[in-house]
Subunit: 215 residues, 2 copies
């Protein structure tokens, strides 16, 4: 897909709008995605109609179909972009840190920060996954496995080198994943803490679990 | 609502079926709820139709309407029962334990165990909440606040008596809630660990966070 960003002067858009831009090559394509996210968030995938999405994007249904042939393709674009982006940020964080502890903290912080920054996108990507076609669902589930693997490997590495005290690797991996994903339930962009501060807190909390193990 | 349990010989039904029985006064009412859960789980609230629910329950749509006037009432029954039950189990666990540490561990274990036992119910209750009517949504959100308050109070009590080392009470409360709720994403009843074992693990992990704080 062509990744040309619109060169408009909209510099202060939300992190969500900015992220959606990365898979658009026109303003109208972008407004379709923004509208789809808003409709899915309020009505769920099945409750949202392409007609409502088109209306919200100030386009005719015919113009919408030039960008996305089906509603399912819209959801797939959102879910794939969301999962790919968080995976890529976590992988980057993993590479930048040398020690096991720093790496786990950085990876979890990246994941939690992302779920705070684009909370609506991640909620849709998670909650509406069952609405995707089989092949598309498989694509997203595969990305999810890779996300899980990044955390799992951090924990396993720290256990091997003696930094961590991990009893039951899979359970702890799932605990950390749930904690980071769960940020999308309650984070408020206008709250006391920034997305990065929340991310760092959860990164450090994951480190506590990994180092201290079970009480 | 009349809480008479059907006196059938079905003693080995799943925890989910058993829980649904507690708000039914007939076998047919129970089969409607079981069918609704199955349809909501696969298709989401908006994707499921009362016709399909009736068919799955081996009832006519007219017979279904004798029990529930609308699909939304079905979802409300499921969401309210689920939230009320977990709240009541957590409150019971809190009362039974004297020391702050034991109490936190028991409360989180009760919550995580419940999300393992009836994972499908809790996923529906959480993911489809936006599909409820305003008043019903408020009822469930109020139960959720009470659930959050049980954890929050455990952490606050342990901080006051010097047992815990909690930096940012709300953040840690949310982390523990997310961890316990997240069990419904991955728990498999036929896996290596029982729901109670998973619950206890997460109870102890919450205790680690509370006692050790941030690394």
């Amino acid at each position: 897909m062509n990744m040309v960003r619109p060169s408009s002067a909209r510099r202060f858009v939300s992190p969500q709008d900015r992220l959606l831009w990365t898979v658009c090559d026109s303003e109208s394509m972008h407004s379709v995605l923004v509208a789809a996210v808003a409709e899915f968030a309020v009505k769920g995938f099945h409750g949202a109609t392409t007609r409502d999405i088109a209306r919200r994007a100030s386009l005719s249904p015919a113009a919408l179909y030039q960008h996305y042939a089906t509603k399912e393709e819209l959801l797939y674009t959102i879910a794939e972009l969301t999962h790919q982006t968080v995976l890529s940020r976590m992988e980057t964080a993993a590479v930048l840190s040398n020690r096991s502890g720093d790496r786990l903290c950085a990876v979890v912080a990246a994941m939690a920060t992302f779920h705070a920054e684009v909370s609506v996108l991640t909620r849709i990507a998670n909650n509406e996954l069952h609405c995707l076609k089989r092949g598309h669902q498989d694509d997203v589930l595969s990305l999810r496995q890779q996300i899980l693997h990044v955390i799992r490997k951090c924990l396993a590495d720290g256990s091997s080198d003696g930094s961590f005290n991990v009893d039951r690797l899979n359970m702890m991996t799932n605990a950390i994943l749930s904690m980071a994903i769960g940020v999308n339930r309650w984070f408020a962009a206008d709250g006391q803490l920034s997305a990065e501060e929340v991310g760092l807190y959860y990164g450090r909390l994951a480190l506590t679990m990994a180092i201290r193990g079970l009480e």
